[in-house]
Symmetry: C2
Subunit: 95 residues, 2 copies
DNA sequence: TAAAGTACTTTATAATATAAAGCATCATGG
DNA sequence: CCATGATGCTTTATATTATAAAGTACTTTA
């Protein structure tokens, strides 16, 4: 089957969790850390990868004097996730 | 003498060091930390006080993805420091 | 002079990023 | 088939700053 078509970006549990969380609404770094339970370093790296892949946008600003990082799913990210789920569905159906 | 006129802002060794360092040119938080040897917390607090007093300006931006804080002496800060030195001089001369 | 009030300093913790080191997995060549 | 690498994720340590809490010192004041 199309196992080879599984996009790079979905081959990591953490990235998958991040994308899943962002399906509903944009979230801050802290919120993602709490939802995923990931370490800061790992989360930071995987966010960068998703961003470089164009799956999410990362906005940085200062909330008062402290940095605030907000992540949001892009249309491409959303679309790719849908494709991925469809692929899994089709695999499940034998096709 | 005018001992009572010693401005609040010059009654802390750390603030004095910060202002002295900024006389020549603007400096980053890190540079100030290195020059003064102060702890992060203390430096941060004293920078805020100098800023609130209008003696320095504090600019925040992202250098790449990391925060960068730059401090610069204001005309008021420079003027006040001059006044302070003059005051000390006059005290030294018996007023 | 003991108790209070002020202000500075240290320490701990929070928000993120990067680099280095550790691990696991997968492909290769003997 | 097994030792070697190449990849890539994860953890750990460290870097930038900020804030809150706790410690310390000095100065009033009753």
């Amino acid at each position: 089957m199309e196992m080879n078509n599984i996009p790079e970006m979905f081959q990591s549990k953490l990235r998958l969790m991040i994308i899943s969380a962002l399906i509903r609404q944009p979230l801050s770094f802290s919120a993602l850390r709490q939802l995923t339970g990931a370490t800061d370093g790992n989360l930071s790296v995987q966010i960068s990868k998703l961003s470089e892949a164009g799956y999410i946008t990362v906005r940085k600003e200062f909330a008062g004097k402290k940095p605030l990082t907000t992540c949001e799913l892009t249309p491409l990210g959303r679309y790719s996730f849908r494709q991925y789920v469809e692929l899994l569905n089709s695999i499940l159906q034998g096709e």
